[in-house]
């Protein structure tokens, strides 16, 4: 394409963009709403994923020994767990160490435990980090069957709950975003149809004198591109500023940390731009399909 034609296509596209004021605003706003919601959901999902991996890394099971178990029994179980492929890490906590840990936790109030060294009520235990959270149930079962074990604390069921919530957010979000994207594409298609209608005489003359389909279509493709792009700018700015603010305000004070803005916002912005441009160009192609006879 010559530089001359390139400039001409952009000029025509911009004219089409400004002339259908109301439709342009409607179509760009639909893109804006779509991008805002999609961006919000993507940030949310990125953070729940982050949370899940963080919690997964933290799950620790504790198996408490019965009072009076022998050291052989303890080391036998420890050996068995170390060679188990489901286990990441095993640490033995003796009765004395357990008491020491409790003292540290109590800090200033540790005098409550004074004199307990001789009649230590705390059991010895094994702290076990499973490789995968999914292994927790199986390990727990196996430990409970061991005669030396009094009680197993399996670290709770936080992860499956988070996963369930994330999956719901993903499912509902995906459906919502797809519906919004289709609405946007539909509005863009209609805007393009209106522009084509307003230009039908020009298009007729172009065909008559031998303009190619590509030449006739370029301005409308550019117009769709511009509609997508313009719709995307405002919500992308809002998401960037909003996320930076949220990360600064709450990022480190929550029980978990948020994905850092530097890691999230770059890729998020690119993904949102690409999607809105795809919606714009896709809508434009749909709009041309029936109105511009090939």
């Amino acid at each position: 394409m010559s530089a001359h034609s390139f400039r001409r296509h952009w000029r025509e596209a911009l004219q089409g963009f400004w002339r259908n004021g109301a439709m342009t605003v409607a179509a760009a706003s639909a893109v804006a709403v779509t991008v805002l919601i999609l961006g919000f959901l993507l940030a949310l999902v990125a953070n729940t994923n982050h949370l899940t991996t963080e919690v997964r890394g933290q799950v620790t099971m504790v198996a408490y020994f019965k009072d009076g178990v022998t050291t052989q029994q303890i080391s036998a179980l420890e050996q068995q767990l170390r060679s188990d492929s489901k286990v990441q890490e095993v640490r033995y906590i003796s009765k004395a160490q357990a008491l020491q840990q409790m003292k540290e936790q109590l800090g200033a109030n540790s005098s409550l435990l004074a004199g307990m060294e001789n009649r230590n009520p705390l059991p010895a235990s094994l702290q076990i980090k499973p490789k995968q959270t999914e292994e927790v149930a199986a390990l727990s079962q196996m430990l409970q069957e061991n005669p030396a074990i009094e009680k197993v604390n399996d670290g709770g069921q936080v992860v499956p709950q988070i996963t369930r919530v994330t999956n719901i957010v993903r499912g509902v979000g995906a459906a919502l975003v797809i519906a919004l994207a289709l609405t946007s594409a539909f509005l863009i298609a209609n805007t393009i149809r209106l522009t084509i209608y307003a230009r039908r005489h020009e298009i007729e003359i172009m065909r008559l004198v031998g303009a190619t389909n590509g030449f006739i279509r370029w301005p409308f493709i550019i117009q769709g591109f511009l509609l997508g792009l313009c719709g995307a700018i405002l919500p992308i700015v809002v998401l960037n500023v909003g996320y930076q603010y949220a990360a600064q305000r709450w990022g480190s004070s929550l029980i978990f940390s948020m994905v850092s803005p530097d890691a999230l916002l770059g890729p998020l912005t690119i993904v949102l731009l690409l999607i809105s441009i795809a919606v714009g160009v896709g809508g434009s192609l749909t709009g041309m399909r029936r109105s511009l006879r090939v």
Binding site: S2, H4, S5, R8, H201, E202, E204, I205, M206, R207, L208, V209, G210, A211, T212, N213, F215, V294
Partner: protein, 232 residues
Amino acid sequence: MIEFADVTVRYQTGVKALKDISLRINLGEFVYVVGPSGAGKTTLIKLIYLEERPSSGRVFVNNVDVSQVPSRRIPYLRRNIGVVFQDFRLLPRLTAFENVRFAMEAVEAPPKLIHRRVMEALDQVGLAHRADAFPEQLSGGEQQRVALARAIVNRPKILVADEPTGNLDPETSWEIVKLLETISVDGTTVVMATHDREIVNARKKRVIELDGGRIVRDQQRGMYAGVSALLP
């Protein structure tokens, strides 16, 4: 060169607009296509500028069998054909100059050529001095001359005109017809559909007469109605 071989055009409604038409029009020839309304004149013109395709038979335009040609090549073939209509079809928001330039820009002509060629074409139809006028500021005859300039600015080998004088008074019609003849003298093939008796009878050019989709007469230096019809 234009050649029709056993051409039939049947519209989707079932109407046969042309029936077994065969004809040949040579380079630089000037031909009137006449006949009553509904005879098939417009359909014949549309076949030449590739707006319609034959239902059967073959149409050759500039030695290309256009009945077979794939759609994506049609734009390029159209660049060798200029078209003029009864209703001018100028773009109202563009000046005379811009209307003519539009045809060159649409085929991505080299920008350097455009200004000179547009002025030449306007000069050829005698409207160089009205280049900046908008269509509504021009008379019907002047508008048709701008349309003519637009049709020839890309220097087509063939010029077709579908009742180009249909909206014009007799005097203005003469001017348009004379311009078309000048263009054909320069080597362009001109095909003009009309039912203006006076013009056809006065100019003594080849006349192809259609009726009900068939050629009923094809005569060099012809009259609008056959000689027999003129006898008492």
